[in-house]
Amino acid sequence: MKRLVGSIVIGLVCMVGCVTAMAVEVDASDCLPCHRERNPGLVADWEKSRHNLPDLDCRSCHGTKHDGTMAVQARRNAACTACHVQESSSYTLSKHGVIATLEAGRMDFAQPLREGNFRAPTCAYCHLHSGNHNIGAEVFPLLPREGCQATPEDALRTEARALPCRDCHSPRFVETWFLSGDKMLEIGRMKVREAKAVVQQIEQLDADSAKKARTIQQRMTDDHLRNVRLGVGHQSPDDQWWHGHPALDGDLLRIKSILGGHPAKSTEP
């Protein structure tokens, strides 16, 4: 008899659990109709953001459990790092990232993403500052991606630029950091352009050497230059330097060596 009552009780508990879980599991189509009314600005911001992609929806960052923890979950770095692996490594190595790692258990993620509410900025603190769902709207114009230069409209925003940084740092520090970083990045681009000019000369000689040189030059753009940009943006010295500039130097001289040591070139008078 005891066993029967026990199993009925356990069965009921499980059933209630399942029903509750089902009630809070959300479907992709569930979010927008409701939140468009409740938070129209937020949805509009997301719609113009770079996260408005076919394979992404609210659940990608907020999870599927509509139980009051959705905002908290999306504020944690783990919500971003699953997709942004390379970005996360430059951040993790930075002082901000180190503090975030050490303080993860003590930071209160229920707080809004502003006013220095977190001991160190997390991914969302800067890229979704004050909950702005137009991802990176405030920090993007600081260091635009390659081939994706800041528009004049972005330039107008320089007054408001780097708002997240200013919650802790002086405007002069922020401005100096990014001006210097812009220069550091531009110097990286100079190396890539110098390499491209050499690759063009190699292309006149033979296809094999050209292919080899192009592969190296691609690595300069896709890896090393990207590291400099991420290193500046995330304040990671290692990415700016060892994974950035000396790596660019090495590949630039390797490309030059292909041309300098080329047999066709060597037989010239």
């Binding site: 190595l93 002082k95 503090i99 050490l102 802790c168 110098e194 090495g250 001289l253 060597s266 037989t267």
Partner: protein, 442 residues
């Protein structure tokens, strides 16, 4: 007084010479090559004692700590929250903003180690003591950076990254991040990771993949980090536990193989003393014999690796003797301060010739050796020294592969010989967008 023609000519030539030499305006650097470079704007934050300019455009007046906090809680709320949770704020008589920054808003300063040392004299003295052990050292890190030839040579915005880590000598918040300055934070290995990572010093990789680091990663988050770094307080050592035993801010008195870019003799009297200090540290948990064996293995690994490195170095030097390094040093840009090298150009191979700065504008085979010596060698060393045997093994395999590839390239260069050397490489190596910019911006 009569002015001769010769005096007049000298006088007339003096001004163009002065303008050409550019000395009076350019000389804002510090250190050995001071007259050859001008700092980047960020330098004031990395070396505030030398370069900081007070903010004079915004606020006027002299303020008390309470007034600073009242205003900055609105302007920069993050740092005020930070400071409020620090021991500085919670002390019976709080150490507030003016104690470190001064009260006059037109003359604000950034704290240097000397500022912190006013209240923490023992820690400052320990850090200063480190200087007697030479490089590498936290206390001498800024000199190491700005005195490097490549630092003086390259555009300052490019090498600004160097200063972020090397500023460990010029301010204390590299490890004790502002504005909480919590010793508990600095005790954890992640505190070292921002600088002790990457190809030439993968200390993070080595520690985290070692048995010590594995245990830390599994359980470290739950430990009480307010305890001092002493025997029995932690189940596994962290970076600071071994390198800064009992919180000693002098980190150099046990360093034998040091940075790892030159061979040392581990059996000198001085190194024997250092080794004894190491064994005493290990003895907190391990029998002395274990530590002895550990260091015997490390020395054996290092000596074998150096044999291999010298072999590759000899190969490169023989190519140099036979004039097979192309471009030759004469065909490459020279360092601005190196007038001797302009007259007697010579390729720099190995530590003692200064190859640590020669990782750009060199021939591909020299750079291949640099990568082998400065990256792969150091990966093997750091793995071995931190007890990460698998990592050391992996880097050794890579090292063997790179050494073979350099030998093959050398062979090919010898085959081509001087036959393939008729063209002038100067235009290729002395011109180009970055190369030109580099030449004009020290």
């Amino acid at each position: 007084m009569r002015i001769t023609h010769l005096q007049a000519v000298i006088w007339l030539l003096f001004w163009p010479w002065l303008a050409w030499s550019g000395l009076p305006e350019g000389a804002q650097g510090v250190g050995e090559n001071a007259e050859h470079w001008q700092p980047d704007a960020m330098h004031e934050y990395w070396d505030p004692a030398t370069y900081h300019r007070p903010e004079t455009e915004r606020m006027v007046g002299v303020y008390t700590g309470e007034e600073c906090v009242e205003c900055h809680a609105g302007v920069t709320p993050g740092i005020v929250k930070e400071w409020r949770s620090s021991r500085h704020a919670q002390a019976a008589s709080p150490v507030s903003c003016p104690a470190c920054h001064g009260g006059d808003h037109q003359k604000l300063t950034f704290p240097t180690p000397q500022t912190c040392g006013a209240c923490h004299p023992q820690r400052l003295a320990q850090m200063e003591e480190e200087k007697k052990y030479g490089f590498p050292s936290h206390a001498l890190a800024m000199e190491r950076a700005v005195d490097s030839k490549h630092f003086a040579d390259k555009p300052k915005a490019e090498v600004a990254a160097c200063l972020q880590c090397h500023s460990v000598a010029t301010k204390c918040d590299s490890c004790h991040t502002r504005h909480r300055f919590d010793p508990a934070e600095a005790r954890r290995p992640e505190a070292c990771q921002t600088c002790h990572s990457g190809p030439p010093h993968p200390d993070d990789l080595a520690y985290f993949s070692s048995p010590h680091g594995q245990l830390y990663q599994k359980e470290g988050a739950t430990w009480d980090w307010s305890k001092p770094l002493r025997k029995g307080n932690y189940q596994t050592p962290t970076c600071a536990y071994c390198h800064m035993k009992d919180g000693n801010h002098q980190v150099a008195d046990k360093a034998v193989w040091k940075f790892g870019i030159r061979e040392v003799n581990p059996k000198t009297a001085e190194n024997e003393i250092k080794r004894k200090r190491w064994r005493e540290t290990c003895a907190d948990c391990h029998p002395e014999e274990t530590a002895r064996n550990f260091f015997r293995d490390l020395d054996a690994e290092r000596q074998a690796t150096w044999k291999q490195l010298y072999g590759v170095e000899r190969l490169l030097k023989s190519l140099r003797s036979d004039g097979l390094l192309r471009p030759s040093a004469a065909d490459r840009p020279s360092y601005p301060m190196d007038w001797l090298a302009r007259w007697l150009p010579r390729e720099r191979i190995g530590f003692y010739e200064g190859q640590a700065s020669a990782f750009y504008n060199v021939s591909a085979i020299e750079r291949d050796y640099f990568d082998l010596w400065y990256f792969t060698n150091l990966g093997a060393y750091k793995g071995m020294a931190h007890g990460a045997k698998e990592m050391a093994h992996r880097f050794h395999k890579q090292l063997d592969g790179q050494a073979r590839s350099i030998a093959q390239t050398a062979e090919a260069l010898r085959k081509t010989g001087k036959a393939g050397q008729q063209i002038d490489l100067k235009p290729l190596w002395l011109e180009g967008e970055y190369t030109r910019f580099n030449r004009d911006h020290n």
